[in-house]
Symmetry: C2
Subunit: 624 residues, 2 copies
Amino acid sequence: MSPKITTELLKQLRQVMKSPKYVQEPVQAYIVPSGDAHQSEYIAPCDCRRAFISGFDGSAGTAIVTEQHAAMWTDGRYFLQAAHQMDNNWTLMKMGLKDTPTQEDWLVSVLPEGSKVGVDPFIIPADQWKRMSKALRSAGHDLVPVKENLIDTIWTDCPQRPCKPLIMLDLSYTGVSWRDKIVALRSKMAERKVLWFVVTALDEVAWLFNLRGSDVEYNPVFFAYAVIGMNTIRLFIDGDRMMDPAVREHLQLDSTLEPEFKIQVMPYGSILSELQAVGAGLSPKEKVWLSDKASYALTEAIPKAYRYLTPYTPICIAKAVKNASETEGMRRAHIKDAVALCELFNWLEKEVVPKGTVTEIIAADKAEEFRSQQKDFVELSFATISSTGPNGAIIHYKPVPETNRTLSVNEIYLLDSGAQYKDGTTDVTRTMHFGTPSAYEKECFTYVLKGHIAVSAAIFPNGTKGHLLDSFARSALWDCGLDYLHGTGHGVGSFLNVHEGPCGISYKTFADEPLEAGMIVSDEPGYYEDGSFGIRIENVVLVIPAETKYNFKNRGSLTFEPLTLVPIQTKMIDVNLLTQKECNWVNDYHQKCREVIGAELERQGRREALRWLIQETEPLIRVQ
Amino acid sequence: MSPKITTELLKQLRQVMKSPKYVQEPVQAYIVPSGDAHQSEYIAPCDCRRAFISGFDGSAGTAIVTEQHAAMWTDGRYFLQAAHQMDNNWTLMKMGLKDTPTQEDWLVSVLPEGSKVGVDPFIIPADQWKRMSKALRSAGHDLVPVKENLIDTIWTDCPQRPCKPLIMLDLSYTGVSWRDKIVALRSKMAERKVLWFVVTALDEVAWLFNLRGSDVEYNPVFFAYAVIGMNTIRLFIDGDRMMDPAVREHLQLDSTLEPEFKIQVMPYGSILSELQAVGAGLSPKEKVWLSDKASYALTEAIPKAYRYLTPYTPICIAKAVKNASETEGMRRAHIKDAVALCELFNWLEKEVVPKGTVTEIIAADKAEEFRSQQKDFVELSFATISSTGPNGAIIHYKPVPETNRTLSVNEIYLLDSGAQYKDGTTDVTRTMHFGTPSAYEKECFTYVLKGHIAVSAAIFPNGTKGHLLDSFARSALWDCGLDYLHGTGHGVGSFLNVHEGPCGISYKTFADEPLEAGMIVSDEPGYYEDGSFGIRIENVVLVIPAETKYNFKNRGSLTFEPLTLVPIQTKMIDVNLLTQKECNWVNDYHQKCREVIGAELERQGRREALRWLIQETEPLIRVQ
């Protein structure tokens, strides 16, 4: 992977930063955030402005360009990747390390007195605007909205915004109709005494209307906004997608409906002016509910006194707690996904060992091929991380021809992959050795496994926030001086984004909502040694009630049930580092893999994969 | 304990809330926070306004009185105590429970439209003012500063503000002179480009000048402020304390000094006007550094553009990391404290069992008596929690004649106590049974012990914040559905406040600073069964570097060394619930108690206590 040469691009950007054609006054710095106008984590090619200007195309990062400097903030998952993808014009700012300045502090340290810092108001979330604007103002600078996106002005071959057909989900998948979701949302609005709710996140629009799309790769969403009033529903969406009779039928656009369920379809681009009109028509005490992560542009459309901002919207919270139909769908999806992976690992073991002809890309493609054979497969849920040896230490690695390595019996292989099925979203990581792992590799793998089990088997009170569980995943690593520089888990959508809020498991102190039965998160501790190998063990787990001996304050307890049912390679385990309880956990888990996935492999007539499964799920025996 | 009758007081308060003599416009609600003008946790009698108006005298709580309601917010430590101490005029708001409204939400729900909410601007911290003011404003109400404290206007027999003599600490105790502390502070100020630093917390003033006082019971502090410029030092303090030649000598008030170390002594009450003068004289880019917890009144004295606010001051952070002299002092203090407790427990065992004549108060007094026999004893570090049976479930219980219970062989006894010695501050909890504990009591005790050990023996990377360790203390309790409703640990001062920032171990997401070698915190998980018993095991522990097998990213690791060396009652332990590692921890700990405390008991000729120590530190044997 050679870095993108950005000298000329930066020169052009610095020119438009001073050009009266685009800015009222010259800006001395320009911020290029990661997201799109919906603050999406994964974005469409037309929104990959940060990657365009810097070359760094990881899923998280913020670029800031000043007259003299170009700097990129990203987190531990991407330190190596960003360093590889960016040329010498760029300084990498490693977030989470003690000496790394915040964007604000850095700007204050490099800007000349009284500078203007520009940003696209549609791209920056309102809460970030507020924080940054305040910090800059207190140092004598100004954050200013630049209406025209300056990257777009120099991006001559910028791709078109996608506008793909929609997928309708019926009740058997969603469990709740869009009308009932609107009713529930309005009741939350009434509770908080707000009259309007603005849906800005793409997955929230999709969830609310029981629709899916494919405007963004891996995320089954479509570009749209919605504004829900107590008696009105406005959907802002482009293209001829609303001409599809099935979509019209699904949304009952042509039916005689009670007026409060009549959906008004409006152009995507009219959201700002419509919202400004809503804002202008408000009487005192009438409030509009927005996420505090909605864009600065949309937030500003509502006068401050009328805004009701929360970190998580009622849709975000409702969406996170999966109902019975969604949970059953997720179970089905994970069974199919495990079948595909058993096929893959069986195939790899046969191909890799004798022939040495399988590269990371071939393995990733093969994984996709096996997944695509399963019912209701739609697409992958993220770019497959297929990495062997040193590539495994690049936490969010994606194999490309320049880095593509051949799998061998001498290196650890890490596969983090998942798919979108119509009934659910999967995300699983397994770390395998096809030869003989070293004692050190086994030791590290076993610590990671101990952390994985510590979270998966944890019992904790109702109302506990996920971040309180993060250290359980690290304790075994910490004991011998090891650690990993990423969170332990993220929420997972139901045929929706593979990363979703409002819950998660992380050492970062973020305002996660308490875990509730029905929520689904990943459990994925790891260990990475730069230049050598990467280890990660990831299951998607469902929050379920736990039976306990006592019940303090009648609060009830929760624990996790693994939805992912793919064998964990026992060859990599140093059994003597496990406690008896941990050993039993592995054996019980493998027994369940045998039963559930075994039956499905049998049903699908996949005999070889079944043989592989049986062999990989032999019980561990602890000699002590 | 019978509740305080507050009907008449509330009537009077509601009158002054409308009286033009005290308020420009009537206030519909009046907030009575817990703290004093220095945001102290422990306060002088003249500052106990919340206790005066409500009867509830726990260390944490906020009262709000409206025309119709009177409500008290407090945390899990105080639910029972507050319920006992307050009459029917008061509603208890249990913080931390899901359905308890915040003060802001509650105010919005009960106030008539366009209300004014009053508060003493010297008592409310600026960050709380900001949050509350914003929430009220967005609901159409106003938070207003009421200059005269309304409680003081109805508190006819309010005690005088204390003004006791000062204690000087020489270098053998502090390790660093006040001059060197000023130099270090000015270098931090230069780093942040601030010209002035305002010292508002009483323990920060005391630490900075190597002085101690006794204006507040248990906390060796004195009423004072300081304002440090790059070339000036102003100390705001009252009384004839500055006439003491030893104090003058210590502060070099009469020496020919470089002007930047010359201390100007000013009246305590002149801080506001002096600070306003500083604020008025600032040029652009000149900043004044204040804690964001400083009072609203002092914060407002500095125009907004000139304020530099941080959650923790450089003094708070420097004070938390104990130097070698302080650490050695803390060790000495804990050895003396353990000697006193060995004497006490030996005495209790002899008195309680045969005679049944020892009450909670007698036991507490006896503990103080034994402590006061030790060298450099100054006073207790907090009100002794001496509680038996059901009283043990009142987390911050203090025995009074109405509740005083006799210790018996049938109940669990919990003693949480500590002292101020000139060389250090102690805080230790032991839970004992003088008869035969039930299997259930032993089970609960053992879970608490497992939690205590999990924290004490934890190894974690440099830079880890204490809140990431909190769940380790709960895991064994959680496994069987139990928990406790308080944090796990707090910072401990060096002959200073027994609770100090900026570090701690808590499930609450607060902005604690990372743990560093030299910091000192408590480790005190518990379990409480309302109406039956309370269990808590508390040591004060020192953060020390840990040796680990590997060293990820060269970060280094930390662990804890117990400074408290008092036997943990083995009779209460169900050995079979311990792992071998935990069992070894207990045995190693008891071995150290024998060696270190045994030698000191020997030296002090305390033979009986030594016999008791030896008997209590017999190694556990795990049969499995």
